[in-house]
């Protein structure tokens, strides 16, 4: 199961459930987290469903970049970290 963790910086705004997911893609794993807390979606994704420019997502130590990042594949034991980039103020 891939595990999805969120930066503690988000906890002051909304619940950040730690999710174990059998999802095959980053997108599906995030959707599992958003199902647990629908409010979380707007903190990670913008109006168009894109990863916010100052949110940094890492899968197994590699940053997911670009418009297609949400389609990045996950392995059965992937570690997903949704972090706050230090850009953006």
């Amino acid at each position: 199961m891939a595990r999805v963790r969120f930066t503690p910086q988000l906890r002051r705004f909304t619940d950040t459930p730690e999710i174990d997911s059998s999802a095959a893609t980053l997108c599906d794993a995030l959707e599992a987290a958003f199902a647990a807390n629908p409010r979380l979606r707007g903190y990670v994704l913008d109006d168009q469903g894109h990863v916010r420019p100052n949110v940094a997502i890492f899968v197994d130590g590699r940053r997911c970049l670009g418009a297609a990042a949400l389609a990045d594949p996950l392995g059965p034991d992937s570690a997903v970290y949704v972090m706050q980039a230090l850009s953006g103020g």
């Binding site: 707007g42 903190y43 109006d47 168009q48 953006g88 103020g89």
Partner: protein, 358 residues
């Protein structure tokens, strides 16, 4: 309106002010550390809204049902899916720049230029497509931001179907049928920052702030990028006022709620130098519809001042006597007598985006 309460939206939180025997003082904070871009002060039942602009995590909206004692996050306005090939700014909420309520409707103006309405006090929002889909919107330009935005919302107090709004840079727009149709109502404004043949184009005007007189709603005042304008016919025609001392440049304007001839402005040197003239903080007041102005200085620092009052940071209360103004460097000043005399409330607040009574 609670005449003894006011709100200051800042780069680092929302500050509640209370007026006591010693004048205004900070009585509480909310969202400390977070940027608050705009607020809607409490209605008669205590319901109010605050818009946050979190640097990393987007725009958020919070509602209080008890005049700021407790807050709950509610849905922020959100743009629908951007059609393939749509030009212009991305359909993404950058900031809630303005909020106003009238006749049971809450309006929110945004960067990048969308107007949203809520009929349930912010629980849900709808993009006003009749304005967003106007082809002229694609000619709007950013004014102070990379994308255009709606900063002024002037609902008509007695005509529920009528709303005038201000866009930087897209002029003034008016609906008289509840948002079904819109017309640009910027005739008379002039933009010196454009090529001469485009200076009168209503769709590129930069009205920094527009306010409407509550008692005489056809009278509107505008602090424009290029000077001061006034309309006495609901925005159909705008007349530039030229007898303005100190400087015609500024961002903020407030109009007396009962007297349409009285308005206040806070001048700065020019767009290229956004500081008070000669380092002296002053307020320009007219009481004759803009034919003449007085420059008010009593109680305001008159040397070494570099404070700028941004467009939403000058407010007048329902009586027309109390004024508050806050600066982008965290200074806050108050008057209890229409601007004749000012008191310093604080010089140490975070950068101030908006000031509201209520």
């Amino acid at each position: 309106m609670n005449a003894d309460r006011a709100w200051v939206a800042t780069r680092k939180g929302l500050f509640q002010l209370q007026h006591g025997a010693g004048g205004w003082a900070v009585a509480g904070t909310a969202f400390l550390g977070e940027p608050v871009s705009m607020l809607l002060p409490p209605d008669a039942s205590g319901r109010m809204l605050a818009a946050l602009n979190l640097g990393h995590f987007g725009v958020k909206l919070h509602r209080s049902d008890d005049a700021g004692a407790h807050w709950t996050e509610v849905a922020a306005p959100s743009y629908p899916a951007q059609p393939e090939g749509a030009t212009g700014p991305a359909w993404k909420l950058v900031q809630v720049w303005s909020m106003a309520s009238a006749n049971g409707v809450v309006w929110a103006g945004s960067l990048p230029g969308g107007l949203f309405r809520s009929d349930d006090m912010g629980s849900t929002w709808q993009l006003v497509r009749s304005l967003w889909d106007r082809p002229e919107r694609l000619q709007w330009m950013g004014g102070g931001y990379d994308v255009p935005g709606i900063h002024s919302l002037c609902p008509h107090p007695t005509k529920p179907q009528e709303l005038l709004l201000g866009v930087s840079c897209g002029g003034a727009w008016t609906t008289r049928d509840g948002g079904a149709t819109w017309a640009n109502t910027s005739a008379g404004m002039r933009a010196d920052f454009m090529p001469p043949e485009m200076a009168d184009n209503p769709n590129i005007q930069d009205p920094h702030c527009i306010v409407r007189c509550a008692a005489a709603p056809d009278v509107l005042w505008c602090q424009h990028h290029c000077g001061i304008w006034r309309s006495t016919d609901g925005g159909a025609n705008w007349v530039q006022l030229t007898e303005v001392p100190v400087s015609v440049f500024g961002f903020a304007v407030a109009v007396h709620p009962q007297d349409p001839d009285t308005a206040w402005f806070v001048p700065a040197v020019a767009d290229q130098q956004r500081v008070p003239v000669d380092g002296a903080l002053v307020v320009n007041r007219t009481r004759d519809g803009g034919r003449t102005f007085e420059t008010l200085r009593r109680g305001l620092p008159q040397s070494g001042v570099y404070d700028l009052m941004y467009r939403h940071a000058l407010a007048v209360d329902d009586s027309g006597r109390r004024l508050l103004m806050g600066s982008t460097t965290g200074g806050l000043w108050a008057s209890d007598d229409g601007g004749d005399q000012w008191q310093t409330v604080s010089l140490n607040l975070p950068p101030i985006a908006a000031v509201r009574f209520g």
